[in-house]
Symmetry: C2
Subunit: 176 residues, 2 copies
Amino acid sequence: MYKEIRLAGTGGQGLILAGVILAEAVGVYEGKKVIQTQSYGPEARGGASRTDVIISDTDILYPKARHLDILACLSQKSYDSYINDLKEGGIVIYDTFYVQATAANKGYGLPLAIRTRERFGREIFMNIVLLGALAEITGIVKIESLKKAVANHVPKVTLEHNLKALELGSEIGRGK
Amino acid sequence: MYKEIRLAGTGGQGLILAGVILAEAVGVYEGKKVIQTQSYGPEARGGASRTDVIISDTDILYPKARHLDILACLSQKSYDSYINDLKEGGIVIYDTFYVQATAANKGYGLPLAIRTRERFGREIFMNIVLLGALAEITGIVKIESLKKAVANHVPKVTLEHNLKALELGSEIGRGK
């Protein structure tokens, strides 16, 4: 098993934290080898944010993602920038409020922003909602592992909300 | 300019967050190319935590750290594991409560844990104190850039404490 996953959007959407949580969930609680990377360059100054997570059963020799198995986009710019990095048969997940899909691969358009705002009054937990949906759709990680990793990385006062965000994402991923 | 930096210790010390903050400070606010990586494998299940940050003026072609310019250790195990990855003339920074230095390169032994506990009653901000000290000792990043990146990644209610932690680290780094 070898999977390349990219989470992309704008700064402030918490995607790097989402990547840290996903990597720890799979790496620590599911015993896989995982490398998680974020790069900063000129594009970061334009407000773009992106993290790559590579998951494997064996040692990861080349830590750069080149042919994405899974791409999740929370901004149009990130969708436009990375959709061509998705390999044939890869899964693209995107938020229907922020992204209009143009590729032949329609993927999974999900109402992440709208449902997050309905539930929490703002989009602050959308990164965690995304993880719940991604887990259900791709099967790449268990919700239980995400819960443990979330608990390690969010302030205690927001833990309950974050766990509810995971559940909301799980519901959205199951089409509810 | 090309620098490889590793922050290492145990899970719960917040070193991955420290790596995210350092990478963003240099990459977004100082215009450098930066790749930040964390790996999870069997060693992560032993409670070890580590993040690598590579900083360069030009594109980073090979994103794995191989010859560390700067190594910061908050546990004896991380010191023992990685001290030999430090290149000749490299800088090692370690906490004097958790680490007993054994290498010929004595580096900078700093009272990070003790001073953090004195100031905040617990070690929760030691990761940020470390960043302040590292900035002063190595000059790899400006305190002002760290302050901006900290503000993007910590909860608002803890921001003031985190900024004080940066200042405390800066004092410790300047030998005060």
